[in-house]
Amino acid sequence: MGILDSKEPQGPLADKWAKHKNEIDLVNPANKRNIDIIVVGTGLAGGSAAATLAELGYNVKTFCYQDSPRRAHSIAAQGGVNAAKNYQGDGDSVYRLFYDTVKGGDYRSRESNVYRLAEVSTNIIDQCVAQGVPFAREYGGLLDNRSFGGVLVSRTFYAKGQTGQQLLLGAYGAMNRQIQRGKIKSYTRHEMLDLVLVDGKARGIIARDLVSGEIERHSAHAVVLATGGYGNLFFLSTYAMGANVMAAWRAHRRGAFFANPCFTQIHPTCIPVSGDHQSKLTLMSESLRNDGRIWVPKRKEDAIAIREGKLKPVQLSEEERDYYLERRYPAFGNLVPRDVASRAAKERCDAGFGVNKTGEAVFLDFASAIMRYGKEKALTSGMKDPDDNTIRQLGEEIVEAKYGNLFQMYEKIVDANPYKTPMMIYPAVHYTMGGLWVDYNLQTTIPGCYAAGEANFSDHGANRLGASALMQGLADGYFVLPYTIGDYLSDDIRTGAIPTDSPEFDAAEKDVRDRMEKLMSGTGIHSVDYYHKKLGKIMWNKCGMSRNEKELKEAIKEIAELRKDFWENVKIPGSVDSKNQELEKAGRVADFLELGELFAKDALERKESCGGHFREEYQTPEGEALRDDENFKFVSAWEYMGEPSAAKLHKEDLVYENIKLKTRSYK
């Protein structure tokens, strides 16, 4: 077991969580009033945790860099949230959701955590409906579902293409109720710059008021980090511009192990890159793969003609198209998991079949869905022999009702009408499965420091299934953390308020101030974005959808050099003691420049392919990922030892007692 104790409860899988809840210590309501908790990040995990902890009676302080908790990037999640409700009667169950998630994650997640996630998933839907989240409904008034990749049932609940927004507004509402009661103090436009440890326990944070530039000390009996993922490491991603790894990385530097940093999700359906000025990539929801068919031309000449604008995609007949996902994976077709779909798109484009100017795009086509829906609608409306135009029009109306806002978003960005011509899509960085290592209680290797949602590593293994991020964020925040944190805090009922004038707070604040001064002292000519873009290029080209030993070694060297250059030369105008967006960015990029190197090192050490981590050296003759369970069935948890190159690897062996390890197949 080494020094990593996952604290998984004993006993049968299905009873573990109930048994654990019965055995952990509770804090009596009167004592909760004397205990303070800091929650950093106010997305689905942080917002739901803060609200629930405050309802229980703890004093909560929340921190977010945005101007309102409601703007956390959970809001951008489009497609839906999974839950094992089996409302459709299609054979779904807690076990099946558990199984799909472990398999989808390519057998690199912890069984007990995933089972608990599946178990509480049904509570999430009940809770959110009670909060007034307007999920989509059928004509009978009951909740509607759709399908997502990697599964054979319909278990995804949704609110148009804005499910994340609606769930976050639910959690934000729950937070607001506690703010009004005085149980949550919300600090907006604040950024956590360091974690403060007293006697080895997390006892507070150093934060910067982003408006005044003031450095502040905040103490608490426990600190929850719900600060999301680190995909902005790649510069171009579907993350919000401000999304960063600072809180998690500061905790890592103070002793929290960082797990599986190289497990990154590259989402198959994003709008392709258009040029060097681009700052951000936009996702087209996975829900589109319910109805959209993905293809490239069968003949390379046709692909070239399309790239050159000499041929239109609609001019190609069915026989001239290669629906490569349906061809390679007949059982799951267009709904294979994200890692599989992304690699298949890259394979076709690398082989010369890409369909946009840069050759890095494939088609996502709704023509057959439009005609199918149109025919159905014509029949149910009692039309006799409708012509193709009428059918198409009826079908377009149905597709608009289902995906209207996504189609509108596409048209605004690309200036092409996806009802009339197929969308062009390409994979982009979207989510990180890796994150702070946590035990069954979601506690990191620092006592009193917890990590929830995307910020932790626990539930998705090497690949996350669609609509499971929202599920995990809310499961952690509403239903897991509020129980498990009490077990730890039950020892703190006599501690009293944590003072902020201790030598530990002094030292942490000094570190923060020194670091900012050092950042401001750069003497070169290049801005923060220059370095961030360079880092992004290294990451995408050498640590992206496929990786190999040679390029990973190059990446490690190049990132270390770039980091050195950055610290000596980065140019930041303005001052530290006022609003300064360049300084904010610089602090974030500085941490990405350390994490990037650890990421490449982790990818280099993991000599197998699994989920989103594809090593070119380890693949089957058909080009599928070749996992090595004998040697790599473990979680890589890295301990900070100074430079990223010196990080020390600890292994948590993964034990599968309930699921038989198999080669993942979607054929």
């Binding site: 945005q66 309102s68 307007p134 409904r137 927004q165 009004q180 974005d529 140019k571």
Partner: protein
């Protein structure tokens, strides 16, 4: 293309602001409006000047952070989008573009183009929620069927992203569209009806306390709303408010 930009610069909340002229070359039509500003900022940094600060985050039209008044219109000339979704193909070579922050007493300027919209948070805190604790044992989600058209109408109201364009568009700087969207979402759903009377009264009271103006039904808010929130919500809120007042 080449653009002539007039941009509001203001050092901090207490400083006096002014319009400053910038000329920008090399703008491409497939850039987003914010990417155009990124390029201008890179130029300013390389010249050793302070970049223009503006609010933005998701850059895909859903977080509600971006908030620019462009040529007098919130979120610019296009409709049904936020600034981050606005692309330079909506402009022509040689255009003059005036960029200002939201203008409203309840939204004080923090710096340059950034305003303080915490008044919106306080309106929500006054009652924009259903008072239900987290529990492992709530009623089953399907226990109360909700007619599809009712659920859809609640969703349409809930789509508000809280950007503040409605306030910026209104000659009275009224926050009625924003407040009524939340009131409507919950008034429509059976779960929200229990507290409906208190909710509408508390939220309207807070809205008035924040210094937003009154609604005079000009409808400018609806035109500029990037999410198409309908004026019907204001009518619904007025009905809710009246019936709550009668109930006392």
């Amino acid at each position: 293309m080449k653009l002539y930009l007039k941009i509001w610069r203001q050092k901090d909340a207490s400083a006096k602001g002014q319009m400053v002229d910038y000329t920008l070359n090399g703008v491409e039509s497939d850039m987003s409006f914010l990417e155009m500003l990124d390029i201008l900022n890179e130029e300013l940094i390389s010249k050793g000047e302070e970049p223009i600060e503006f609010d933005h985050d998701c850059r895909e039209g859903i977080c509600g952070t971006c908030s620019l008044q462009i040529n007098g219109r919130p979120h610019g000339p296009d409709t049904m989008i936020t600034v981050c979704q606005l692309h330079m193909r909506s402009f022509n070579d040689g255009d003059e573009i005036v960029i200002e922050p939201w203008r409203a007493k309840a939204f004080p300027v923090i710096k340059d183009l950034i305003v303080d919209r915490s008044a919106f948070d306080r309106i929500q805190q006054a009652g924009g929620y259903i008072s239900v604790n987290t529990s492992g044992r709530p009623v089953d989600a399907n226990a109360i069927p909700i007619e599809k058209h009712v659920a859809d109408a609640a969703m349409d109201a809930a789509t508000c992203i809280g950007c503040g364009a409605c306030v910026a568009a209104c000659k009275n700087a009224s926050a009625m569209l924003f407040t009524s969207a939340k009131v409507s979402q919950f008034a429509l759903l059976p779960q929200g009806q229990v507290e409906a009377a208190d909710r509408v009264q508390n939220m309207v009271r807070q809205m008035d306390l924040e210094g937003f103006g009154n609604c005079t039904n000009t409808g400018a808010c609806e035109v500029e709303c990037p999410k198409g929130i309908s004026l019907e919500n204001i009518a619904r809120m007025n009905r809710e408010y009246l019936s709550a007042s009668v109930k006392g």
